[in-house]
């Protein structure tokens, strides 16, 4: 199958992979919302959603149905195209990160070697960084297009928060790059799987900084200033209804899953199952074990996100900015210098 001297089988293969990844991510997202409500209920000593289906397992489907069936309202004073573009952009940006995450080792099917990664670009980490910086447009455009004071304030808050925490995030990543010497996520994960330790051992401070910044980038409590109800009513998606609102809410959870996957890949060995030699089993089985391991790591991180949300109260806006600029950035710079010194001293 070559047309224009181009291997179209590869395109089809990648297309199928993308569809599977997106659908699986959305399915997991659906149940993350359920997990959030259940964990919140357990932490607050109440039963939580338990009406729809056994243990309330059909609750996310009921929620989705409710969102779709609701009346869709576009305010007359809103900028119509941008109002529609906002949620779509938020969702696209959060799903795009999945392109560079290695979900497992290679699979051999129909005589082809299929990499469980959409694109192994040699600038993988920078790509993630670019997509993260795109994510804020969905919120800004939606907030502005709603033509509502509270939405606009919230959008501006979201933008300044994202820009502030991106810097510390980038500096934490630079320290990680200094130890790994590669920007390709595939290489980073493969090195961790082959080496004695995961990167978190070499970069404990860097991981903590990255985790806090990821939480801020996902707009999760304690950093959910853009949706602070007591100050801004509901935040940037105040004027949204029906599935557009659903997209905004969903994008937050997709972001959470994607940042969990990135953290698992960069600091916690990705698809590497500890104390297990993957060469002892068939390559396809090893890939499946790797995929399962990565999913378990993602679920653990998502649980951590939810746990923190229902434990820590929200920051004040000036506290948020102080933490970002006066604590996280100096700490990240210190971490970078320390890493550089240790590499020079060959420790």
């Amino acid at each position: 199958m070559t047309l224009l001297s181009f291997d179209w089988a590869l395109v089809i293969e990648k297309l199928i992979l993308i569809i599977i990844i997106v659908l699986t991510t959305l399915l997991i997202t659906l149940y993350t919302t359920f997990g959030e409500r259940k964990v919140a209920a357990i932490l607050q000593d109440r039963p939580g959603p338990n009406r729809a289906g056994p243990f309330g397992l059909l609750q996310p489907l009921a929620d989705g149905l409710k969102l779709i069936m609701k009346e869709e309202i576009i305010p007359t004073s809103a900028s119509k195209w941008l109002f529609i573009l906002g949620p779509g952009l938020a969702m696209t940006a959060s799903l795009m990160t999945s392109a560079v995450i290695p979900w497992g080792t290679d699979v051999h099917l129909f005589g082809r070697t299929i990499a469980l990664q959409v694109a192994d670009v040699n600038i993988g980490i920078l790509y993630i960084f670019a997509v993260v910086s795109m994510g804020v447009y969905g919120i800004m455009i939606g907030g502005w297009a709603s033509n509502n004071k509270f939405s606009l304030m919230s959008a501006l808050r979201a933008a300044s928060q994202a820009i502030s925490y991106e810097i510390a995030m980038g500096l934490a990543l630079i320290a990680l790059l200094m130890t790994t010497g590669s920007l390709s996520l595939k290489t980073i994960v493969a090195d961790q799987a082959a080496g004695p330790w995961w990167n978190v051992v070499y970069q404990p401070l860097g991981f903590i900084i990255f985790f806090i910044c990821a939480m801020a980038e996902c707009n999760r409590t304690p950093f959910d200033l853009p949706e602070a109800e007591n100050e801004l009513n509901f935040g940037y998606h105040q004027e949204y209804s029906s599935m557009k609102l659903g997209f905004y809410l969903f994008a937050e959870y997709v972001n959470m899953i994607m940042s969990s996957a990135i953290m698992a890949s960069m600091y916690f060995g990705g698809y590497d199952l500890p104390f297990f030699d993957e060469t002892t089993v068939a390559p396809n089985i090893a890939a499946m074990i790797g995929l399962g391991t990565l999913l378990i790591k993602i679920v653990l991180f998502v649980f951590l996100f939810i746990w923190i949300r229902w434990t820590i109260p929200r920051f004040r806006y000036d506290q948020l900015m102080n933490l970002g600029w006066k604590t996280m950035i100096p700490l990240a710079l210190f971490n970078m210098l320390l890493t550089g010194a240790l590499i020079l001293a060959k420790l």
Binding site: Y127, M134, M140, W144, L156, I163, L183
Partner: protein, 166 residues
């Protein structure tokens, strides 16, 4: 046509249409959004030239950071169509002169490309845009300009902080 040529023409059309829309849009917010699309198209061109690092940095810095600040400012000052002040005659004249000089420059460039026709481009091994060769080149052959530009950035940062404190 090879796939690279198809991509080149598609990206060029995309870039030119978006750039025209930047100028034509009445609403400054729409202009900024079209400008972001221009940056994406140009990043696509960089990738065609095998300059992945430049492409992604273009998106991070221009589309991701600077344009967010543009949007930020425009949303805050909330430009209205009717409150836009009429430009003075001198400003219009200066605009015509500046635009005309730029047009001359562009015409000269296009003329140069006509002379280039039929020649092949010598790109050594074509990997200078990838991150490892680029880093090596920056820190060995071009280390002095690199360091000087970083000092320039530092002074700009210090200046920004001092102005911000006033």
């Amino acid at each position: 046509m090879s796939i690279i040529q198809i991509l080149f023409f598609a990206l060029s059309a995309f870039a030119i249409i978006s750039a025209v829309m930047v100028l034509v849009s009445k609403n400054p917010i729409h202009s900024v959004l079209w400008l972001i699309l221009v940056f994406f198209a140009i990043s696509g061109h960089y990738i065609l030239l095998n300059a992945q690092f430049l492409a992604i940095v273009n998106i991070i810095v221009y589309a991701g950071a600077i344009m967010v600040l543009f949007l930020f400012v425009i949303m805050l000052i909330n430009v209205k169509k009717d409150s836009e002040p009429q430009k003075q005659f001198l400003v219009k004249l200066l605009g015509v002169v500046a635009g005309g000089s730029f047009l001359t420059l562009l015409v000269a460039l296009v003329k140069q490309t006509a002379q280039m026709q039929g020649r092949t481009l010598l790109m050594k091994d074509g990997v200078i845009g990838l991150i490892h060769p680029l880093g090596k080149a920056l820190f060995t052959d071009y280390v002095v300009p690199f360091e000087i530009s970083s000092v320039l950035f530092l002074s700009a940062m210090v200046g920004a902080v001092i102005i911000g404190k006033k």
